[in-house]
Structures are given as structure tokens and as C-alpha cells.
Homo-oligomer: 350 residues x 2
């Protein structure tokens, strides 16, 4: 750069996060950002109908008290162990800003959610990316590899692979790692187990959740973290006072209180996924074992980019990740049964 820059060097050097495309169109099957194909709870619509916009002239509740209460009940933990975010990405940002200073080290696995290393870049920190085994499991020497880092960010299940990590290995990390372990459970509602209980067992564990996937509320931006009160109190200092707006607080409340509705949607998505996987199998496409609402699919020619482009030409939007391991795959979100039948029909011509 020859021109003078006002920005910090780390900001000038970095590229920003590139979110999955948000395109509209009746004829497009949008299975690229792991959105839920079903609308949120009908109670959300009812609450919006009753909402008086006069309320918007006042600031929202800064601590999201009512929501933290509901979330505390849900996980059988004190409301003081809960912090609310403008999406769980907001929580990830708070964690980086709380625990990782400029020049310090955060760590994550690779492949994983690419935002982690970008948030480290914004801090002027380094992100150590620990290569997963060939089956995308955690390497045995993970503890040694993350030892110098202040914060270890791990999604469980992982994205974009859709696979999970052994609970024993996770516990071992929580016990022996000297920094904070943040377990990003964005997809845990689709899995068979979760790490919520580790929050009570270890003083260095933060578990995050989002309403974007299982609760069909990506547009509302609500996520939260659960951790011991000490960690929550520190992160509250970093949280923007009014990070969650009034309507989102109401919408999230209605969605969280309607547990049956969201669980039923999760069930439908799992059934659709089972259909999709069995059909992929017939077509000789392979895939990783998925514990999420998406599948990491490998075409017979192991050319992820070609498969992605082929689907795109046929109005099916999925997501491709370059990189020497992920480029063999395409990440396919599970849409409606119709979406997936159409996708299979197109793939028959691949």
C-alpha cells in the first residue's frame, strides 16, 4: 500500500468474512446457508400482531432479563449464567474481545467455521488452525497444539463437515487446557448430545447456541452463551448495552417457549435428510456422517466446485469451500422434502 491508511495494520491486511449469498427468486432452491426450510413458530406471528409500535420509542431491556430467565430454565441453570447476543456471532465477537489481546493467540480446528480466524484477525491476534484427522476427527495431540492459545473455538457438531467430536476428547480438553474452551453449538439441536453440562463441570467452558437454525429465526438475530457467572459478568462488560432489539426479544421468547413446534421441525429435517442421504448413496455420491441440518457431499469425481456449479446452473444454490480438503465436497443444507427431491433429480444428470 503506497497510500496512507488510517486503519490498523491487521485490518488493512485482512479480508472480511464473506457470508453465503442471500438471493431471492421463486425458482431458486436456496440450500446454501443452513437456514431452516420451515417458518418460525406461529406464536411469533401472533405476538407481532399484538405488538404496539409505541414500544419502539424506548430502549430495549439491555440484559434481556426475561429471555435469560427462560433460557436458564431450559438448561436448568441460573439466569446469571446466560448472556444474550445479536446472533451467536455477536457472542463469538465478545469472546475474542474478552479473552484474546493483540498479538495473542486464539485457536480452532480446520476445516471449520471461517469466522473464527477472521475475528482473531480483527483483534490483531493470531489464530492457530489445527488440522483435523483425515476423517475430520480431533488429532490426539490437540492439547499440545493449542497450548499457547487463550481461547479455543470449537463447533460441535462442526461445520462445514456436519460431523461431531467425541465427548471424552472434549472433556479432556476442558480439563487440561489453560484457556477458555468455547463450544459453538449452533447445530446441537440436530445432534444426539450436547456439551451444556460441561459449563457446570469446568470454570473455563462457554457453550453458545443460536435460534438461527433449529428455531427458523436467522432473520431475527438471536444467540446466547451459557457459562459460569464469573465468565458471563466479564463478557457483559464487553457486550453492547442494547445489542438485542425489542422485537427480537419478543420473537425469541415466543420461539423458545414453543419447544414442541421447533422439535417437530427438527424431526422433519432429520427425516428429509435420511431420504436425501439414501438417494445420494444410490447415485454413488458419498457424504460425511451428518449430525446437523446440512450434509457435506462428495461427488463421484471428487470435484466439489464442478458439482456446485452444476447445481447452480440448475437453479440450486449450495455452498462450496475452496481449500485442499474441502474442495472435494459441496455443503448442502437440508430444505423441504420437495427441495431435496428436486436436488436429487438434478444430481441424477451429473
Amino acid at each position: 500500500m503506497s497510500e496512507k491508511s488510517y486503519f490498523r495494520k491487521n485490518i488493512d491486511k485482512m479480508s472480511g468474512y464473506v457470508p453465503g449469498k442471500q438471493i431471492a427468486g421463486k425458482n431458486i432452491i436456496k440450500i446454501n446457508t443452513n437456514e431452516n426450510p420451515y417458518p418460525p413458530s406461529p406464536n411469533v406471528a401472533k405476538a407481532l400482531k399484538l405488538f404496539d409500535i409505541e414500544q419502539l420509542r424506548q430502549y430495549p431491556n439491555p440484559r434481556c432479563c426475561e429471555l435469560c430467565n427462560i433460557i436458564g430454565d431450559l438448561h436448568n441453570i441460573s439466569e446469571n449464567c446466560v448472556i444474550a447476543g445479536n446472533g451467536s456471532d455477536d457472542i463469538l465477537t465478545m469472546a475474542l474481545r474478552s479473552f484474546v489481546g493483540e498479538g495473542e493467540i486464539a485457536s480452532c480446528v480446520t476445516p471449520t467455521y471461517s469466522l473464527y480466524s477472521i475475528l482473531a484477525d480483527i483483534q490483531g491476534a493470531t489464530c492457530a488452525e489445527i488440522e483435523l484427522n483425515s476423517d475430520f476427527s480431533l488429532p490426539d495431540n490437540i492439547l499440545a497444539q493449542i497450548a499457547n492459545s487463550k481461547l479455543f473455538l470449537l463447533p460441535r457438531p462442526n461445520a462445514p463437515t456436519g460431523t461431531s467430536f467425541e465427548m471424552n476428547k472434549i472433556k479432556n480438553i476442558c480439563e487440561k487446557f489453560k484457556g477458555i474452551v468455547l463450544i459453538d453449538e449452533a447445530y446441537a439441536d440436530f445432534a444426539n448430545d450436547n456439551c451444556m453440562s460441561l459449563v457446570k463441570e469446568f470454570d473455563n467452558v462457554i457453550v453458545t447456541r443460536t435460534l438461527s437454525k433449529s428455531y427458523s429465526l436467522a432473520g431475527s438475530r438471536f444467540g446466547y452463551a451459557v457459562a459460569n457467572e464469573n465468565l458471563i459478568n466479564g463478557m457483559l462488560k464487553v457486550k453492547d448495552s442494547y445489542n438485542v432489539n425489542t422485537l427480537t426479544q419478543i420473537i425469541a421468547k415466543e420461539a423458545l417457549l414453543d419447544q414442541n413446534y421447533f422439535k417437530n421441525n427438527v424431526l422433519k429435517i432429520k427425516e428429509t435428510k435420511a431420504y436425501f442421504l439414501s438417494e445420494l448413496d444410490k447415485l454413488n455420491f458419498s457424504f460425511l456422517p451428518s449430525l446437523t441440518n446440512f450434509v457435506f457431499v462428495k461427488p463421484p469425481d471428487e470435484n466439489g466446485e464442478k458439482m456446485f456449479n452444476f447445481l447452480l446452473e440448475n437453479n440450486i444454490l449450495t455452498r462450496f469451500f475452496s481449500g485442499n480438503r474441502t474442495n472435494k465436497f459441496v455443503r448442502v443444507s437440508i430444505g423441504t422434502m420437495n427441495d431435496m427431491k428436486n436436488t436429487i433429480n438434478i444430481l441424477k444428470k451429473y
Copy 2:
């Protein structure tokens, strides 16, 4: 601290920002957080009625394209010179993270909005607080005092004083200061002029606005910044991808397009303020010249805390700021004419 802490030292040392109380109650006159006493545009209610919650299952537009377009038109500037925030506090956070590294210096005046120095604390940066003159104007040697800082944060009009700063002095700072000048125009809609044109004149100027005050949308969280494209592009790397949720994008659009409605509310608030000030005058309370929707009021005994508590005992919630100059005052937001008449009636007994 004897116990081990996982937090960065700067986070452990700092206290968080304390927002004004959000209390409910029919009998309380809430004039403590500069909220607008009138509801947002009726078009907001119409848009909410038409809203299909199905939309919430998808992520919002990450760049707030439609809104940036509208805002560009409003200020006669390219949409590429606009960035959207989850409230203008979100923009302030982006600025600190973009321009001020750990150990570096930000600067602001004092007294002013206390969030600025807290955001510097979160960065692990220092905030140089430049004492204003006795009449709360900018000191002549301000340039020398902020010379070492990367970012100068100045609200115009200022809070909690409600006063403005001379345009000539602002221009001089923009021209000669080597860092970024962020002019926080949260209250500019209530003032007689603004600094929006400086964005085109200088490459180091960012002007921020919010819909929380003049547009009656504190509960929706929408703010924005205008600056040259270079600065906007850098700040976009720091922005959370989906920082503004779907409903807020719709609400902000309706509010921004209904210019007459909000301008009429601003007019009503100015009229109410004129009444309030003339009555204060009769009661021998003094006040600073206000170019905002609040007034910094000094009781005859110059005991701000006493006046604040007296009002509170009478169910009128205002805001008191300790500090050796601000403690002579109480900040009073302008509510409805009824709110202010009741406040005057109570103050008659002070």
C-alpha cells in the same frame, strides 16, 4: 485479584457501561434516556402488519442495501459511502476496532458520552479525555492535545451538555488532525446545522447518525455512518455480517421514508423545550443552551444529585452524572408537553 482470571487485563480492570434505567410504570415520567415521547411513523405499524414471519427463517441482507440506498439519497451521497449499524453504538465499536489498536490512544472531550472511553478500554487502548472550557466549548489547544491519538470522537451536539461546537473549529480539526475524526450526530436532527458535508471535504471524517432519538426507534437499534468509500470498505471488514436484523431493516426504511412525520415530531419537541426552558427560568433554574432533545439543568443550589433524587421521589426519572462539573446539573429529556408541565409543577416545590 488473587484468583486466576481468563480475561484480558484491560477487561478485568474496567467497569462496563451503565445504561440509563429502563423502568416501566404508568405513574412514572421517564425522561432519563433521551427517548422520543412520540411513537414512530404509523407506516412502521403498517409494514409490521403486512410482514410475513416466513421471511425470518432466512438471514437478513448483510449490507442493508436498500437502506444504504435510501440514506445515500437523503444525504446526496453514494450508497457506497454508507455503513449500517445495530444502533450507532455498533458503529462506534467498529470505529474503535478499525482505527485504535491495543496500547494506542483514542481521544474525546470531557464531559461527553461515557461510552467512548469504555470502548477504548475494551480495546486495551487509552482514551485521552480533553477538558472542555468552562462554557463547555472546545479549548483552543485541542489539536495539540489530541495529536497522538488515532481517533477523535466528538458528539455534535454534545451530550450530556446539549451544547454544540463551532463549525470553524471542527473544520480546523478535520483539516489538521492526522487521525480519524468521528462526529457523532445522534442529536443533529434537533440542531440548526450538521457536519454531513465534511465527509466530502475531508478523507478522515466519519459522521454517525441514529434513528433512536429523532425517529423514535430506540427499541429497533438502527444507526449508520457516512464517510468516504475507503473508510466504509475498511469498516465493513470489521462489521458483523448480519448486524441489522430483517425487521429493523424494514422498520428503519419506513421511518426514513416518512421525513415529514419525524420532522413534525422534532418541531413539537422543540416547542415543548421552549416552554420548559421558559418555566425553568421563572423558577431560577439555569440551563445550558440546548440544541438537542434534552436540557442540562442546574438547580439554584447547584446540587444536581439532590435535584435528581427529589424528582425521583416524585416519580420523575431523569439522569445524574457524578463528576466535578456535571454534578451541578441534571440531564432532563424533553417528553410530552404533559410530562414537562408535571415536571415543572414538581420543581416548583424544590
